[in-house]
């Protein structure tokens, strides 16, 4: 390890150090606001190290981590998303933890999860892959059940726990098979072995499929999607947001690196597998969301479909795919933050406000909140002026470029179906205010903390991102192109 390695690794090191400091700070004195601010600043400072780290890239730090601009880009995404989530969480937790104790560890866990996410973005080796994966999963598991006195969060936590360990086990077994066949644990050489021999051993392929199943489970691709709605619904809403954004972005970052370095997209069975997963995910997610009456579940199902779209883009292979996938994921994070952010802001003590009735006519009582939700939903639906449109455009472009006509067709058909439920929610927002909705909206408005500057700033930030990317995406596109290029230059300094 030389200085350059440390520079390259500085974001991860920073965040790790900050997590430890946070832990010590909690041990020293519990103070919700201070810890929250500290956590926020940790992310911010880590974010600030990214440009510095970029000077040392691309650089393989030991064989475990590969820090390149691509990883740094995803780190930036993960960190900024986490910051928004922290900002949203503070108000939410103040209300939820009014009569409970131990709110501060939440931020520590959040930082640890983010740490795991950062590791995943750089992972180039089974060990870092697996450890990052578990850091993220395990922290999330605690976070989901963080409101431990409530039944729904606990139920969600146990479901997430059992299924994520299942995922880990499957993933590990897959990795073991790959290792058994190839005798190496770096992504690159695992693929290189197959490329050299020009044959794909069954065990190797089986291992790869198991690994992909593990990843699919984390991403919630059908038929491994079952946990998604329950966990989304049960988890505290900021954590739901986190699962939907950071956790998935990190896994996608890894998946992209894995597929690129191993070169799986040149193997027909894997391409077929991805196609199958993509189509099944799109159809399942959208059909299940169709008449859903719970907003969080609805968004959960829609996320299943969205990662189906991402897979279509991924399948295109090569630079366009990486570019499209990255863009889509960034956009998806923004719009999920928007949608779940509104649910977070709107929720008060007790149950989250996630039933459709709660949102009936929200536009007339809380126009900005409703407008924000509508904007996010339109973005999810892929309507222009919003980032979602450019994202969908990118996905379609990638698919068309690769000639994946049937997948593109499926994407379109599914987009149309998906419109139905987004519109259902939007219509509800603009509907006439009914009696129960009026009561719950009254409650929400009366609380002094209902809207404070943190939530306004964070949602405002998200909204401006959604609109900006929808209207002028060029700077981000440039950034992504430059970053993604490094991913594709496999022949970089490798110890």
């Amino acid at each position: 390890m030389i200085l350059q390695d440390f520079i390259a690794l500085s974001p991860i090191l920073d965040l790790g150090a900050f997590s430890l400091v946070t832990m010590l700070a909690i041990a020293f004195k519990r103070h919700h606001a201070r810890i929250a601010v500290f956590a926020f600043l940790s992310c911010l400072l880590t974010l600030a190290t990214l440009p510095w780290a970029a000077t040392a890239t691309p650089r393989g730090v030991t064989m475990l981590l590969m820090v390149d601009r691509y990883a740094l880009l995803y780190m930036g995404l993960i960190l900024s998303t986490t910051m928004v989530i922290i900002a949203l969480s503070y108000r939410y937790l103040t209300i939820q933890f009014r009569e409970e104790e131990g709110v501060e560890e939440y931020y520590l866990l959040l930082l640890l999860a983010t740490f795991g996410g950062l590791v995943l973005t750089t992972a180039a080796h089974f060990v870092s892959f697996f450890l990052g994966f578990e850091l993220l999963g395990l922290s999330l598991c605690s976070l989901i059940g963080y409101l431990r006195t409530r039944r729904h969060p606990l139920e969600a936590a146990v479901k997430y726990l059992l299924l994520s360990i299942t995922a880990s086990a499957i993933l590990l077994f897959g990795l073991a098979l790959l290792y058994f066949e190839s005798g190496t644990m770096t992504f690159h050489s695992v693929g290189a072995i197959v490329k050299q021999t020009q044959t794909v051993p069954a065990l190797w392929l089986g291992g790869l499929i198991l690994v992909l199943v593990g990843i699919a489970l984390k991403l919630g691709l059908a038929p491994f999607h079952m946990w998604i709605p329950d966990v989304y619904q049960g988890a505290p809403t900021p954590i739901t947001t986190y699962i939907a954004t950071v956790s998935k972005a990190a896994v996608i970052a890894l998946l992209l690196r894995l597929t690129t370095e191993v070169g799986v997209l040149e193997m027909p069975p894997i391409v077929h597998l991805f196609s199958l997963l993509a189509v099944v995910s799109m159809v399942t997610g959208n059909v299940l969301a169709l008449l859903q009456q719970n907003v969080k579940r609805l968004l959960a199902y829609s996320s299943i479909a969205h990662f189906g779209y991402v897979l279509v883009a991924l399948l295109a292979g090569g630079p366009p795919a990486a570019e499209a996938v990255t863009f889509y994921v960034i956009v998806y994070c923004a719009m999920s933050l928007g949608a779940f952010g509104v649910v977070t802001v709107y929720s008060n003590e007790g149950e989250d406000k996630d039933r459709f009735e709660d949102y009936q006519g929200l536009f007339w009582t809380r126009p900005w909140l409703a407008a924000m939700l509508a904007l996010s939903l339109l973005s999810l639906a892929g309507i222009p002026v919003t980032a979602g449109f450019i994202g969908k455009f990118y996905a379609i472009a990638a698919g068309v470029d690769a000639g994946l006509w049937w997948l593109v067709l499926a994407l379109i058909a599914n987009s149309v179906v998906s419109l139905y439920y987004y519109l259902r929610l939007i219509v509800t927002l603009f509907g006439e205010v009914t009696e129960p909705a009026a009561v719950s909206q009254q409650e929400a408005v009366q609380r002094p903390e209902f809207v404070n500057w943190t939530t306004v700033c964070s949602l405002g930030f998200v909204a401006s991102i959604i609109l900006l990317l929808g209207v002028y995406p060029e700077p981000l596109i440039d950034l992504i192109r430059h970053s993604v290029n490094t991913l594709l230059m496999v022949a970089v300094q490798r110890p």
Binding site: F126, V127, F130, L131, E134, L138, C141, S142, G145, R148, T149, R150, R151, H152, L154, E155, A156, A157, V158, K159, L161, L162, I165, T166, S168, A169, I170, L172, F173, L175, A176, L177, Y179, F180, G183, M185, P229, D230, Q233, G234, Q292, R297
Partner: protein, 99 residues
Amino acid sequence: MLSTPALVLAMMLFGLGLIGLLSRRNVLYMLLSLEIMLNAAALAFIAGGARWGQVDGEIMFLFILTLAAAEVSVALGIVLQLSYRFRTLDADAFCEMKG
């Protein structure tokens, strides 16, 4: 070499773990089954290490061990809370959210 039979054993153990996961209703048993599955994976890594004469498999085993420890502690915390709130550890009882 014993690595291939070891891998077969790992697969069998993994299968057993999976069957346990699916067939037991008690969360505790499900966790046990998961432990079996993790162990099976670990065995596979060790077998791989043995096949190639590398230490990497063994090192991977160490990390799996770490995971198992960390995970079991969180899992048992959740199990405790579950038994407080739901008064049962029947996995099928936790189905308030569905549809």
